[in-house]
Symmetry: C2
Subunit: 237 residues, 2 copies
DNA sequence: CGAGGGTTTGAAGTGCATCAAATAGTGTGG
DNA sequence: CCACACTATTTGATGCACTTCAAACCCTCG
C-alpha cells in the first residue's frame, strides 16, 4: 500500500508498529460522487484519510435541512474524533468529488495514540489548528457579508506562496460552495456578481481569475480580525 | 493553594509532579469586571482556570467590531492552546463577571503534556468536545432564528439532571448574551419577547422562568440536528 | 439531440440591523 | 435614604441583505 498519504500531520511521528499495522489493515478505495461513507450517530469503526477527491462532512435536521460541518480536500483526515466520543460519528460523510479514500480501523490509531506521546501531541496541534479555523469561521459568518465571504474563500484557494494574479477553479459545485459559506445558491450567484463588480475579478463558469489580489483582500478582509494571508488557515478549508 | 479547581477535566490524570509545580507557580487572583487578561496575538506565557466568575474570549477588527469566541463559566480553562501556536494568543480575554482566576505558566503544562500521555489524551478528549460544540454553534447560527437560538441557550442553562419547571437567571448582561448568540441587543430584546409569546416563558429582568421545558425545546430544537438535551453540550457554553 | 441537473435571473417577502429615542435599572455621593 | 448620572434595556421606524418561490437558461453527458 502507498504510504505517501501518511507523510502528513499528524502522522510524521507515528511509530513503525503503526505503519506496519496500516500496511495490514488500512484499506484504499476509489469512490464515486455521492457515496456516503458513514452517517451521523452511526457506530464508528474507522477513520479516513483523503488521498484524492473531496469529502463533505455534514449533519441534517429532521426536515432534511443540511448543515455543512466541513468540506475537505486531499491530505486531510476525518472521523478520528470518534476515538473520544464512544465511537459515535459526530457527523455524516459524503464523497462530493470522486477520489481515493483510505479507511483505517480506529483501533490502530487508538493503540498508537495511547502509546506514542509524540503522536498525541501532533494530534493536539492539529486539533488546535482546526479549532482556530472554526473560531474564524464563526467570525466570518457573523461579520462578513456574502460577497466578502466569497472573496475570502477565493483567497484561501490561491497558492499563498505565490503573489501576483492567480487563476483558480472552483473545486466543487457552486451550490456546495454556497452551502459551505452558509448561503443559498441564488445568493451565491448574485454575491459573486457583486464581488466581480467591486474587485474586478473575472469569472467563466467554474474558473475565476483574480487579477488583483490586493484589491480583493482589501475588500474581503476589511471585516475580519486578521488580514490576508489569514495565518493558520489552510487553503480551501 | 486550593487544588479543587483542578479536580476537573482534563486534569484528573495529571501527575504529582504537575500538582507540585502548581503549588509553587500557579497564581490565584480576584479580578474586577472589565479586566483584560491578555490580548489577541500577545505573547502567551500562562494559561488560566476559572474558579469563579465569567470570562469572555473575543477578537476584534480594525474598526473595533468585536466577535465573541466564547464565554466561559467557572470550571473552564482557556489559553492553553497557545502551547501549540508558538505561544501566540489566538484571542483576547476579558473578565465579565468578577471572580477568581488562576494563572499557570504554560511551561508547566507543556512539560506535563509531553511526559504524561494520559493528560494528553484527556486534553484531546476535551478538545474534541469543544470542537463539536463549535460545529453545533455554526449550525445554530445557520439554521436557527433569533428566538430559537435564545431558547436553546436557555435550555442549556438549565440543570439537565432535573426535569420540570426551571428558574434561571442570566449569568451576564443581556447585551453580552446577545453578542454570544450573534445578534444585536435590540434583536435580542425583541426575540426574547417573541419567545415568551411562543412558549409561555416568564421574564422578569434577568430572571427567566421556564414552566414548560418540552414546549421550549420543541420550539427551539426543531431547527437543529440534535434534540434536547443536546448531548455533549455543557451548560452556558 | 434530448433529459436532467446546475446556475442564473426576476419578483416578492422576511428577519435582522440600524438609527433614534424613551424607559428602566443601578450605583454613587451627599 | 434620596437625587443624580450613567448604563442597560426596550420600543419605534426604517432600510437592507438575504431568503424564498418561480421560471428561464445553460451545460454536460448519455
Amino acid at each position: 500500500m502507498d504510504m505517501s498519504p501518511f507523510q502528513i500531520p499528524p502522522f510524521q511521528n507515528a511509530s513503525d508498529v503503526f505503519f506496519k499495522a496500516l500496511q495490514e489493515h488500512a484499506h484504499s478505495q476509489k469512490y464515486k460522487k455521492g457515496k456516503i461513507l458513514f452517517v451521523h450517530e452511526d457506530r464508528a469503526n474507522f477513520f479516513y484519510v483523503i488521498q484524492t477527491g473531496w469529502v463533505k462532512l455534514f449533519r441534517e435536521t429532521i426536515d432534511g435541512t443540511q448543515s455543512i460541518v466541513d468540506i475537505l480536500p486531499a491530505g486531510h483526515l476525518f472521523g478520528e474524533t470518534a476515538l473520544f466520543t464512544q465511537n459515535l460519528s459526530p457527523y455524516s460523510a459524503e464523497v462530493i468529488e470522486p477520489g481515493i479514500i483510505i479507511s483505517i480501523p480506529l483501533k490502530i490509531l487508538k493503540k498508537e495514540v495511547e502509546s506514542n506521546n509524540k503522536l498525541a501531541l501532533d494530534m493536539l496541534a492539529s486539533m488546535t489548528r482546526y479549532r482556530h479555523q472554526q473560531d474564524r469561521e464563526i467570525e466570518h459568518r457573523t461579520i462578513q457579508n456574502a460577497p466578502q465571504r466569497i472573496g475570502c474563500f477565493l483567497l484561501r484557494l490561491t497558492d499563498q506562496n505565490k503573489s501576483g494574479p492567480a487563476i483558480i477553479h472552483l473545486p466543487y459545485d457552486k451550490t456546495l460552495v454556497a452551502a459551505r459559506l452558509g448561503m443559498q445558491p441564488e445568493t451565491f450567484s448574485r454575491a459573486l456578481a457583486k464581488l466581480k463588480e467591486k474587485t474586478g475579478i473575472r469569472i467563466k463558469g467554474a474558473t475565476v481569475e483574480l487579477n488583483n489580489l490586493d484589491q480583493l483582500s482589501q475588500y474581503s478582509c476589511a471585516a475580519c480580525s486578521s488580514e490576508f494571508p489569514c495565518k493558520d488557515l489552510q487553503a480551501a478549508k
